[in-house]
């Protein structure tokens, strides 16, 4: 077999997870032992937390703010928002800076996995129920590392805002 032919063959080799070049990318984090992902275009960078300033009378899911390249960003503890034990952030904790339609936030997670690609045909409707993170799940999916849930980050942040009303 000529080298050229082998090359073509490699390009067409089936991906076990059915991922094609045009399938969407997501940004994946671990929360409460599970994998959650949101559209990659919403994640701008992963940074280590600098000195954090706590805000008086802030809800548990907003443990503080920190400064990154001159910008002050709120830290959103997603676990605390959905009723899980809050994650104690410390200097050096990594956060994902993400943007929703209205807000820029630094998401606190158990672990940051990074970019993943999930084939559309491996996305399914969310499981039934609406407690905890299920409230924000748009699709259930699977990739080479296992199952994950695609979440609606805009909705998650909007719920954070709603839960602060009347505090």
């Amino acid at each position: 077999m000529r080298l050229e032919e082998r090359s073509d063959e490699a390009l067409e080799a089936p991906d076990p997870w059915g991922v094609h070049g045009t399938d969407p990318w997501y940004f994946c984090v671990r929360l409460a032992g599970a994998r959650y992902a949101f559209p990659a275009a919403q994640a701008s960078e992963v940074v280590r937390l600098g000195p954090m300033t706590r805000l008086p009378a802030a809800p548990a899911f907003l443990p503080g703010v920190f400064q990154h390249r001159g910008e002050v960003l709120p830290i959103l503890d997603v676990a605390a928002l959905v009723g899980e034990p809050p994650m104690p952030p410390s200097g050096g904790t990594r956060v994902v800076i993400a943007a929703t339609r209205s807000y820029r936030v630094a998401l606190l997670a158990e672990a940051i996995e990074g970019l993943v690609q999930v084939a559309d045909e491996h996305l399914e409707p969310p499981p039934a129920g609406n407690g905890g993170m299920l409230e924000f799940v748009e699709h259930a999916g699977i990739d080479g590392k296992g199952p994950l849930a695609i979440i609606d980050l805009d909705r998650l942040v909007e719920v954070a805002r709603q839960r602060s009303e009347g505090m």
Partner: protein, 117 residues
């Protein structure tokens, strides 16, 4: 325009208020009124000083007053933090050499304390 702020602490945590919002700083007995110690800032431990708002009214009891500072920069609260703190007691963040300090709205803080009574 750089506005001076007054730095103080309650319950071991440092805060700032716009100096222009403070009428007098002194010992609680000197300022009169009913010094407020029950606010969202935590428990006042020493209560050696009090800040009286510029428009009068009951002063805020504090543990320590550190003095005045004219910060390089005062940041607005990030949009999400602003909507998640609807009580309005945090007006912004003061940039200092040691990091960011919450800039409080003294009038809103005292009004919030009265509302919670």
């Amino acid at each position: 325009m750089r506005e001076p702020v007054l730095l103080f602490a309650i319950d071991g945590k440092p805060y700032a208020v716009a100096a222009a919002s403070v009428g007098r700083v002194g010992r609680p007995a000197e300022l009169g009124g009913a010094p407020r110690s029950e606010t969202r800032l935590g428990r006042v431990r020493e209560g050696e000083r009090a800040l009286q708002p510029i428009d009068g009214g009951d002063p805020l009891l504090v543990d320590k007053v550190f003095g005045m500072l004219t910060p390089e920069r005062i940041h607005p609260l990030p949009a999400l933090a602003a909507v998640c703190l609807p009580h309005g007691i945090v007006a912004g963040l003061v940039e200092t050499d040691d990091g960011l300090l919450p800039l409080l709205d003294l009038r809103a803080l005292l009004q919030d304390a009265r509302n919670k009574e």
